[in-house]
């Protein structure tokens, strides 16, 4: 027992590493697409459905994309006919639950494209979870929502 504090920290680190491990592994993405930003706009929105296939709640902490300088999880809210866009710091998904990003609602806000975004190009999105490796998914660039 040289340093009790260090021991606790080490223990916590081990517990975190071993804990409900790789929570992002239970995260599944589907029906993703990215709305092609019209010329003149440097902001794009991507939409998809995230499923938690695990038996424990998981928290998505953020999103990034190598195709854009910045990426955030956003939500559009309508307040008395006004559209407001707000940052979602984290999204919690219950076991068996889902998070749906769709036009006029939650969306992945992607700013400053680093490449041209032609229709049908595939764009990489990475979701960071509280634990586990990020989920990497690819979504096509589209002009409008795919018909289900």
């Amino acid at each position: 027992m040289k340093n009790p504090a260090m021991t606790v920290a080490t223990l916590v680190a081990i517990l975190l590493a071993a804990g409900p491990a790789a929570a992002c592994d239970h995260l599944r993405a589907e029906r993703g697409w990215l709305r092609q930003p019209p010329p003149g706009s440097d902001s794009a929105a991507a939409y998809l459905v995230l499923h938690n296939d695990g038996s424990e709640a998981l928290t998505v902490r953020g999103v990034s994309s190598p195709a854009f300088a910045r990426a955030m999880m956003h939500e559009t809210r309508y307040v008395e006919g006004r559209a407001e866009m707000r940052h979602l710091h984290a999204v919690e998904i219950a076991p068996g639950g889902r998070f749906e990003a769709r036009p006029g609602g939650a969306h992945l806000m992607l700013v400053e494209p680093r490449q041209t975004l032609a229709l049908d190009d595939m764009v990489e999105l990475r979701f960071e979870c509280a634990q586990g490796d990020p989920l990497v998914t690819w979504v096509p660039v589209r002009r409008s929502a795919p018909t289900p």
Binding site: Y78, G104, H107
Partner: protein
């Protein structure tokens, strides 16, 4: 992680304070407490006292002046937004383009009806930027903007709210009224369709409002 809660609450309060301060300081908090009546059983009809479009001075996507008188004699579907708005604006403009395809077949809208996109972000949206932007949705669309004070006057006139909001990444966004404003050939704002809505909702509202106006003779 108990300590994250108070911190995030503080964050929300701070954001709120910044939003309010920005709104009041910029004087952009426009009054929009117009209540839509239900004349003729039509939702959201502004009747019998529809606001009249007063003299405004916008600049269109070709850099030419666009004034209220230019909208006289045909229907205008007005939408307020900005080009850096990635979700609501393209979704709405795409819906308006689809709706307009349908509306062209209605004699009231015909060939002369116009969708008018007004940018509430003149700082970034120059006429050149707006030209490329609206053309992506439809070559028929009119795009326009104006100085902040002109936009503010138009906003007061029609009950349009817009307010600059700082974003977490250091950029800014503009909260804005996201309705479709139905302006008659006599320059009366007859109805506002509030979000969310589809292209079919736009067509339905136009049909109801234009038929109502015809009955008024």
């Amino acid at each position: 992680m108990n300590d994250t809660k108070p911190a995030s609450h503080l964050g929300i309060i701070l954001l709120g304070a910044i939003v309010m301060a920005t709104a009041f300081a910029a004087g952009m908090w426009l009054s929009s407490t117009r209540h839509a009546g239900e004349a003729g059983g039509i939702d959201g009809l502004l009747w019998p006292d529809p606001p009249q479009l007063a003299g405004f001075h916008l600049v269109d996507q070709h850099g030419r002046p666009l004034e209220a008188a230019d909208l006289r004699g045909h229907w205008s579907l007005m939408f307020f937004g900005f080009t850096h708005c990635p979700d609501v604006c393209p979704t709405t403009l795409a819906a308006l383009a689809r709706a307009e395809d349908q509306l062209r077949k209605q004699p009231a809208y015909g060939e002369s009806g116009r969708v008018v996109f007004v940018s509430v972000d003149p700082e970034r949206d120059t006429p050149e930027v707006i030209a490329e932007y609206v053309n992506y949705f439809s070559p028929d669309f009119i795009g326009a903007t104006a100085s902040e004070s002109e936009l503010r006057a138009l906003g007061r006139n029609l009950g349009v709210l817009f307010m600059k909001v700082e974003q977490a990444d250091g950029g800014y966004s503009v909260d804005h009224s996201a309705g479709v404003f139905f302006v008659s050939p006599q320059l009366e704002l007859l109805s506002v369709l509030t979000p969310p809505y589809t292209a079919a909702d736009i067509v339905r509202r136009f049909t109801a409002v234009s038929q109502f106006l015809e009955k008024q003779g």
